[in-house]
Assembly symmetry: C14
Homo-oligomer: 93 residues x 14
């Protein structure tokens, strides 16, 4: 049962750190994009449509990077192939 515990601990710690570290870059990048969008809107209100559309495409691409981290974190918690292998092995023993 020792090997199961070790894999569980590694999964817990990695799942948390992955989303925690993976939130720093996207959050700062989105903050910067939104900030520039706002000052661009103030500077050129007429082209609000183009600016908003480009902003949403950009936010979507940056958010996708945060989603990668969230997906890996969820896989480690709920669809961990290594954990499943060990559980199957223990059950079949």
């Amino acid at each position: 049962m020792d090997s199961m515990t070790l894999i569980a601990i590694a999964s817990i710690v990695t799942a948390g750190l992955t989303i925690a570290m993976g939130s720093i870059g996207p959050a700062l990048g989105e903050g910067r994009a939104v900030a520039t969008a706002l000052s661009s809107l103030a500077q050129q209100p007429d082209s609000a449509a183009t600016i908003t559309r480009t902003l949403f495409v950009g936010l979507a691409m940056i958010e996708s990077i945060a989603i990668y981290c969230f997906v890996v974190s969820m896989i480690l918690l709920f669809a961990n192939p290594f954990w499943n292998h060990v559980i199957a092995q223990v059950a079949g023993k």
Copy 2:
């Protein structure tokens, strides 16, 4: 009972660190977005509606990254699959 304790400790420490580290990026990003919104409002008061609307969409997207961290932290505390497995195993023993 040793394996249960180790998983509990890993969950406690990771739950705390996940939300703690995950708060740095979003807070700084939101601070930047709000700051630019305010200076844009001062510069172009006429387009306050557009600026405020764009700000709220942006804040929502940045906040969502902080929410990911909070969700992982809550899962580790209250719906931890590894902990549940170990508890079930101990109970069924």
Copy 3:
């Protein structure tokens, strides 16, 4: 009784570090938002109402991130599910 002590120590250390690390980002972000609000007020005193309202919404969203950390910290101190489990186990022994 060893396992109880270890969980207690992990909870104490994590509770402290969570709110300590979680205070850095929100405090800096709020400081930036407040600073820009003040310089915007000085630049455009006429739109003080809009600026103040937007500032309070922004501060509320940033503060919410600090509150997440505080909530996790309080849960670890006063409603720790792992601690409760161990206490129940010891009491029922």
Copy 4:
């Protein structure tokens, strides 16, 4: 008595580090807010009332984050639930 000592040490170290680390962000944030308030006052002396009022609301919100850290630090020193549990256990033994 060993388990009591370990919890005491963890509480002491965490209490100190919590307020020490938790002072960095709020102090820098308040310094920034006060600094901008002063340069705004110099730039627009007529709206001193609005600036000062907004500054105090902002400082209060930033200070609240430092207070969270102080509260956790005091709880760990004087109302530590884990310490109380261990003391009760030792006394009732």
Copy 5:
């Protein structure tokens, strides 16, 4: 079975850290590119087509770096050659 556990743990931890660390650079780089695109749009609305096209090519190249990290992370989780070798060895034993 010990060697299998160690490889599993190394794969879990590395898979998480790879995408977590690999998200910082691309997210910041994309944030910067999007931000400049927005301020360029505000400055020169007439050449929106060229700016948007160049932005998307640039985002694609930066995103490709994040994809490399995601691919390595997925390989380590679901197509790990070292894990497959060990599993085959254990099965064939």
Copy 6:
């Protein structure tokens, strides 16, 4: 007597580090506030009264954060509840 020594060492080290780390943020924040006050005075000598009054309120709030650290440091040295408990225990033995 070992447990007493360990608590003494933890108290000494934490007392020192608390005030040492806690001095960085407030000192930098106050330095920034004072610096801006001086350049504001040079820019707008007429409103010296308002600037000075606001500066002192701000310095008081920043100083209060440094005082929190100093208070915790003093409590750890001269009114340490854990140390008192251990001393009482040793004396009553």
Copy 7:
């Protein structure tokens, strides 16, 4: 079999860290190049052809550095000379 496991672990960890660390520099560098290209396009729309051509050459050279890291990472996973040597040795035993 121990030596095989150790080499496998070292390869897994290094493959992940190589592409993870190797993504920071190129992503930031490309973000900067794309950002300047966009602001140059806004400033001088007439020379869009030259700017775009130079941008693509530059991106190709920066991307090549990221590719070096990806190649080393792939070699470590799928064409690792040390792993092949150990496998051959084990098979020939």
Copy 8:
């Protein structure tokens, strides 16, 4: 005698680090304050009296934070309550 040595070592190391780390913030803060005072004097020589007075009040408040560190450092070297307790205990043995 071992416990005495350990407390002595902890006191020596902490006394040094406290004043060493505690000197960074105040020195940088005072340097900034003095620097701005000088450029303000060059810009507005007429209000030299107000600037100098405000500078000295500010320097006094920043210096007070350095003094806190120095006081704790001196207490640890010459009025250490834990050391006194241990010495008394050894003497009274």
Copy 9:
């Protein structure tokens, strides 16, 4: 056979870290050079030939530093003198 394994591990880890760390500087340097080239082209389109030529010479020199790291990394993987010595020694045994 232990000595062979250790050298293999050291070679794997060093080969990866060398190109990973060695990619940060050149990528940032090239990004800066390309960025300035683009803004120079926008500013002075007439001297595009000189700017492009100088850019390529500069990129070649910066790339050469990245190539040094790649060469050392390849030597460690495929022409490692220490590994060859150990292999020869083992074969000749």
Copy 10:
């Protein structure tokens, strides 16, 4: 004699690190103050007397922080109370 050696080592290391770390802040702070003094002199040569006097007061206050570190370093080397106690104890044995 072991306890004497340990205290000697701790004193040596702490004495060096105290003045080494304590030199960073004051040196940077003084460099900044002197630099601004020079540019102020160039800008307003007429008020050289006031600027020089204020500079010397400021340098004296910053230098005093470096002196605190030097004093603690010297106390640890030549008037170390803990060392004296141990020496006396050894001599009186």
Copy 11:
């Protein structure tokens, strides 16, 4: 044979880290020099000859620092005096 292995490992790791760490400074320095050369060319196309000549001399001097690191790295791999001594000793045994 143990001593030979240890020296081989130290040589491998140091050879890689030397060129990896040694690439950061020169690459950034050259990037800065090339960037300024390009913006100078755009600003003053007439003195292209002087600027290019000075740039090449400067790049040569910065590159020489990277070459020092590469030379030490090559010496450690292919002309390592300590390795040669140990090999000779082993052969002559």
Copy 12:
């Protein structure tokens, strides 16, 4: 003789690190002071005498901090009281 060796090692390492770390702050501070002096001379050649004099006083004060570190380093190498005590003790044994 072991205690002598340990004190010697601590003295060697501390002597080197003290002057190495102690050179960073003063060198940067002096570089800044000299740089501003030069640009001030270029801006106001008439007051060269005052600028040069103030520069030398400032450099002397910053250099004094580096000298403190050098003095402590020399004391540790050639007039180390702890080393002298141990040597005397060994000789008198």
Copy 13:
């Protein structure tokens, strides 16, 4: 023979790290000097002779610091007094 190996390893590692760390400062410093020289040439082509001469003197002084590191690195590899002593001792045994 153990003592010889340890000194060899320490020499290898230190020789590499000395030149690796010692290349960062000079390379950045030279890059800055060359960059300013180029922009000065573009700004004032008439005084190219003075600028170039001063640049070469400055580069020589900065390069001299890198040479110090290279010299120490070479001494450690090829004229190491401690290694020579040990070799002599082993040979004369």
Copy 14:
């Protein structure tokens, strides 16, 4: 002979690190001073004599700090008092 080896290793490592770390500050400081000298020469070619003279005095003072580190490094390699003591002791044994 063990004590001799340890002192040799400590001397080798410290000698290298002292000059390596000690090169960062002076190199950056000199780079800044030279850079400002060049831009001052371009701005005010008439006062080239004063600028060059002040530059050389400044470079000499900054270089002196690097020389302190080099001197300590050389003392540790070739005139190490602790090494001499140990050698004498071993020889006289």
